[in-house]
């Protein structure tokens, strides 16, 4: 029964993908069919959660059997994977339903659903696998689907470039991940989670640190942490529902999942944890600062995702793995609904992305506006919304492990989050628009209902925090006295509310934002993309040109040309031997035979 549920949950997205792929050229739209299959996958995942008693591993088939290396394609059902599969399939379901509306006019809508289904399948394997190789398989699968979907509108060359950038940067990180896997196998002789974690305590400190570092490099790429973060903002070239599903709710959180999954490794590598913590804080602030000045609707949300991923990494770094997973869980809902709202806005404004050109959309897009306000409030951590619980828990965890500096910085980050979220809301919905907007429509009802589910979850997902902690059951002690605890919550809430009020006052009217030096730096994303293109890309291009023009063309090609021509010329000489005269050929045969006899004779004599 449970095994069947696992199979249904895992393979119905694949079925959706395959069937959609078969109908790529057909004008029939398969959106509803795909959505139903993803819905089935979600229901199975949810039933797995309902019937869950003990964690167990279920082997589908023997995957690799080479020498001493045995690995089965297994599925692990435990609290972590249950949380992940439910989150993934729920968000995927809503994004599928949303895509029926959003991609309706696209002629290759079936190709889109095929990619999307494949993505869900890969993501399910990533989170359900009971070994590191299966995780890596899913890891690469989601990377592939991300590439396919960012470059979905490949007619535009910029999209293709953005897709390639995402793919290449992920390759860099995946190399780290692969090294980690090799190192794990080298030292423990297995890739099965249970066996690896059982062996980890016997390893030396340096080995564990190296493994943790390599795995973290892999996580950095997928979760777009500094310095591999540039691809995420560019990934917004893809369709907006894709941004919601892949680049906000699921794929980019795979890095966090990896850290949570291998918490038993990371718990023994304190030096790596310090790196993770500080890098997380840095990214949280760094990304938030860019979001504060950006004028691109989707980029703001993308940077916000980056910043929230930073928060999750902080939680992992201080050892509060369940908190990281909890923030991942709540973040998936409010961030994906923000993206879907952005999709509605783009749909209404004919794909306009500059929020400075919008304004006064509230009266036309009332429902979208309300859902987005709820999601933003949740993201900012306004009291009793889901983001409040998870983000606050991260701050407390940092505080209780003695990182006071990090607590302050994260608080600053929370204030920045509030600022950019509501700057977006105000500029898009409330500021009187300069241009006369033609009357626009909100999305159809079923889309708004689907978004409403996510909206409700943005409010309420945080309420289950206590049972969530018990369910995940990765112990983490909070050593904070009650009074301090209340003061901290009060400070956080006050800070957020003050920022909120300040933002509302500031952006009540359309104002000209100052063009100070800092602003320019932030708008240019700290010049990091320029830096990368000037240092790495240009250097790489120089090397490639050198290799092509000197090594390839002048040395290798010349050598092989000479080789080929010498064979050819030798052939011309040999050709003369063939006179087509049979008696001469017989001469050759006999002379050869005599030579053979002679050599044999000489050999016998010697």
């Amino acid at each position: 029964m449970l095994h069947n549920l696992i199979l249904i949950a895992l393979f119905s997205p694949l079925l959706s993908s395959i069937v959609s792929a078969l109908f790529i050229r057909s004008p029939k739209k398969l959106g509803i069919f795909s959505s139903i299959l993803i819905g089935i996958s979600f229901i199975s995942s949810f039933l797995l959660f309902v019937f869950y008693e003990n964690s167990f591993s279920y082997s589908l088939f023997d995957w690799l059997n080479v020498g001493n290396f045995k690995l089965s394609f297994g599925v692990l059902i435990d609290p972590i994977s249950l949380v992940m599969i439910n989150t993934v399939t729920l968000v995927a379901l809503i994004v599928h339903v949303y895509s029926i509306f959003y991609m309706d006019e696209d002629k290759s809508i079936n190709r889109y659903f095929s990619y999307l289904g494949l993505f869900v399948f890969a993501m399910m394997i990533l989170v359900m696998s009971d070994n590191f190789l299966g995780l890596f398989f899913g890891w690469e699968g989601v990377g592939l689907c991300s590439w396919l979907l960012i470059g979905f509108w490949f007619e535009n060359n910029d999209n293709t470039k953005a897709a390639n950038e995402a793919f290449i940067i992920n390759r860099i990180a995946d190399l780290g991940m692969l090294m980690g896997l090799f190192y794990i196998y080298w030292n423990t002789g297995s890739l099965q989670y249970s066996e690896v974690f059982a062996q980890i305590p016997n390893l030396s400190n340096t080995t564990i640190t190296l493994i943790a570092m390599f795995l973290f490099i892999g996580a950095m790429g997928k979760s777009a942490q500094f310095p591999l973060h540039t691809w995420l903002a560019k990934a917004m070239a893809g369709p907006t529902p894709v941004s919601a599903l892949i680049h906000a709710a699921t794929m980019v959180t795979a890095g966090v999942y990896l850290l949570v999954r291998s918490n038993e490794i990371f718990a023994l590598a304190p030096s790596v944890n310090i790196v993770i913590t500080y890098l997380g804080v840095f990214v949280a602030l760094f990304a938030a600062s860019m979001a504060m000045v950006s004028n691109d609707l989707k980029k703001i949300i993308a940077y916000s995702t980056l910043s929230q991923l930073g928060y999750m990494f902080v939680a992992c770094g201080v050892g509060a793995y369940w908190v990281a997973l909890f923030h991942l869980f709540t973040h998936a809902f409010f961030k994906s609904v923000l993206f879907l709202g952005a999709g509605n806005i783009m749909h209404a404004c004919k794909n306009e992305l500059n929020i400075k050109k919008m304004g006064g959309l509230y009266k036309d897009l009332k429902v979208t506006a309300i859902i987005m306000i709820i999601a933003s409030a949740s993201l900012s951590g306004l009291p009793f919304l889901s983001g409040f619980f998870s983000k606050d828990k991260i701050l407390e965890s940092a505080f209780s492990t003695g990182y006071l500096d990090i607590w302050i910085l994260l608080l600053l980050g929370a204030m920045m989050t509030t600022f950019y979220s509501f700057r977006l809301i105000l500029l898009v919905f409330f500021v009187p628009s300069k241009e006369k907007n033609s009357h626009t429509h909100d999305a159809p009802k079923y889309v708004l209902y689907a978004m409403g589910i996510l909206g409700v979850l943005s409010i309420s997902a945080g309420w289950i925090i206590n049972s969530f902690e018990k369910f995940i059951n990765i112990p983490f002690e909070l050593n904070i006295e009650h009074s301090t605890h209340y003061v901290m919550i009060l400070i956080t809430v006050l800070a957020v509310i003050i920022t909120l009020v300040y933002t509302i006052c500031k952006y009540k009217q359309p104002i000209k934002e100052p063009t100070s030096k800092i602003n320019t730096i932030l708008k240019n994303e700290y010049y990091i993309p320029y830096l990368y293109s000037n240092i790495f890309v240009k250097l790489y291009k120089k090397i490639a040109e050198f290799l092509y023009e000197i090594i390839d063309q002048k040395i290798l090609d010349k050598f092989y040309e000479k080789l080929a021509f010498s064979v050819f010329n030798f052939g011309i000489v040999l050709r003369k031997l063939n006179t087509s005269n049979l008696s001469i050929m017989i001469y050759f045969v006999i002379v050869g035979f005599l030579l053979l006899l002679l050599t044999n004779f000489i050999r016998i004599l010697l």
């Binding site: 040999l574 050709r575 003369k576 031997l577 063939n578 006179t579 087509s580 005269n581 049979l582 008696s583 017989i586 001469y587 006999i590």
Partner: protein, 100 residues
């Protein structure tokens, strides 16, 4: 007394005659005769060695060689006939198709 060596020497002499004919002749029929002579030289060697050793195998092989030579000649003569019908000549130099 005629011993084995005499037979073998005779066999070698006949073989060399056949070989020379193969090299020198230009007439396709003559080439066939030459190969026939060579085969029979070999047969002679087989039979004499078989008799010398008191082993029947060599003589069996000689029979096989005779049989195969017969069939080979049948096919060869047929080909030569066709060739003659087509070109009105059985000169070896008329068979010059591939030239380097």
């Amino acid at each position: 007394m005629i011993g084995l060596e005499h037979y073998l020497i005779l066999s070698v002499i006949i073989f060399c005659i056949g070989l020379l004919g193969l090299l020198r002749r230009k007439n396709l029929l003559m080439l066939f005769f030459s190969t026939e002579i060579m085969l029979n030289a070999i047969n002679l060697a087989f039979v004499s060695v078989s008799s010398y050793l008191g082993d029947i195998t060599g003589q069996t092989v000689a029979f096989f060689v005779i049989a195969i030579a017969a069939s080979e000649v049948a096919i060869g003569i047929a080909l030569i006939l066709l060739w003659f019908k087509k070109t009105r000549t059985i000169d070896l130099d008329s068979l010059k198709y591939i030239k380097g």
